[in-house]
């Protein structure tokens, strides 16, 4: 294995769990999360010289993943039909009901609203940071945050009360 490949493997191994978690919340699907993580790491491999020179390589790779998500979110570039997620939730889940309800709720959000939720509420980023990362205005981030929270409450609160 070449030195660059070894370095790539080390970085990929170190970042993979967090990349995959972020991808899963952004896409609300194991299959899409795997695709998105793979795409981000493939771009990382391709742009290795840039990644090495980045002040914060981890942040750089996470930036690639987010941009890949924004790029892919509306694309449907072949005539192939979508297929069911091959990884059934019940195959490896410890908290099945809660996960399914919340993942379903996330999936019902528009992609950009979901990205706002992930960046603002899961990653604790400020409105301004989120706006810069998503190429939106701060007002748009606030509006999308409020709208997403409102929709999530509608879906999640009956489930919470019933739990």
């Amino acid at each position: 294995m070449a030195i660059a490949d070894e370095e790539f493997s080390e970085l990929a191994a170190a970042l993979m769990p967090q990349l995959y978690r972020r991808a899963y919340l952004l896409t609300a699907s194991h299959q899409h999360a795997e695709d998105l993580t793979q795409t981000a790491l493939a771009k990382t491999y391709d742009a290795w010289w840039r990644v090495q020179r980045a002040v914060d390589p981890a942040a750089y790779v996470h930036g690639i993943l987010l941009k890949s998500f924004l790029s892919e979110r509306r694309r449907r570039s072949s005539g192939e039909l979508p297929v069911a997620d091959p990884k059934s939730e019940d195959a490896h889940d410890h908290d099945l009901a809660d996960r399914i309800v919340l993942v379903d709720a996330l999936a019902q959000l528009a992609a950009l609203d979901r990205a706002v939720v992930v960046l603002r509420f899961w990653e604790d980023r400020s409105v301004e940071q989120t706006a810069a990362l998503l190429n939106l205005s701060s007002a748009a981030v606030r509006n999308r945050s409020m709208r997403a929270l409102k929709r999530l409450r509608v879906v999640l609160e009956p489930a919470t009360k019933g739990a």
């Binding site: 490949d5 941009k67 979110r73 509306r74 908290d95 809660d98 528009a110 939720v117 899961w122 609160e157």
Partner: protein, 261 residues
């Protein structure tokens, strides 16, 4: 009421127990990364070769120099560019026309009263530092032609562009064929029997997707598609009873001479 901290806790619980297929993803990413790198390098070579050819023509006239083209010193030398020179698309209208220019042409082809929104002009498929790179050869937007909102996409494939799931092969080869499993797939031919377009309609969970691939100039292919969904990747829920553009309207758009200038 769902509070922000409660939401964060629940999101954490979702991802804490995730089973990450790390080895599979890393191996696939490395393969895809190598492929991307080889294509990019080969593309650079073709671009520089095109510039070199132009310079070779101009130099003798302007500077009185020789007509020898500059060499490729400084390019990565991994032996791949020679193999792939003919296997990817060279620069052309298919990868140079910006989304804004495409939209300018397209507007005049849309049905009267059609309203296009959320037109995606910028390309997010770039390194993080390239924030304002325009899309080229691809246009994605939402559209309402009176039957309700939907989405539409126009995309150019250069003569040597591979589809997402296959190896590099001529665009005309893979784009203008119907697979046996596609029930609603029609090929249109010209007077000589040559296939000039493929018209398809897919229905999945109520979402109808009309797609047309048409033969373009110089061996390129134009894909025009439309769906009655404005959701991510045109999946459920539906946003209207039918897509905003029929396959015949898409065919007319795809076969326009505006794209190749």
């Amino acid at each position: 009421m769902l509070q922000e901290q409660d939401l964060k806790d629940r999101l954490d619980r979702i991802v804490d127990g995730l089973d990450v297929p790390a080895e599979r993803i890393e191996a696939a990413a490395r393969i895809e990364g190598r492929r991307r790198r080889v294509r990019r390098r080969a593309s650079n070579v073709i671009g520089i070769a095109a510039c070199a050819a132009a310079l070779a023509t101009v130099t003798p006239t302007v500077f009185g120099g020789s007509s020898t083209a500059p060499g490729f010193a400084g390019l990565p030398d991994d032996g791949s560019q020679t193999v792939l020179l003919g296997e990817i698309s060279p620069p052309g209208w298919w990868n140079q026309m910006t989304a804004r220019e495409m939209f300018r042409h397209l507007e005049s082809m849309l049905p009267e009263g059609a309203e296009a929104t959320e037109v995606e002009f910028l390309n997010f498929d770039t390194p993080p530092e390239d924030a304002d790179e325009p899309h080229r050869g691809r246009l994605l937007f939402n559209l309402d032609t009176g039957s309700g909102p939907g989405a539409a996409e126009l995309m150019f494939y250069g003569p040597r562009t591979s589809p997402p799931d296959r190896d590099v092969e001529p665009a005309l080869y893979w784009a203008l064929r119907c697979r046996p499993a596609w029930l609603d797939c029609e090929l249109r031919r010209d007077q000589d029997g040559e296939v000039v377009a493929k018209l398809m309609t897919d229905v999945y969970q109520g979402v109808t997707i009309n797609t047309v691939y048409a033969r373009g100039a110089d061996g390129a292919v134009i894909r025009a598609a439309s769906a009655n969904s404005v959701a991510d990747k045109w999946e459920v829920p539906t946003s209207a009873p039918v897509p905003p553009l029929t396959v015949e309207q898409l065919l007319e758009i795809a076969q326009s001479e505006a794209w190749s200038g």
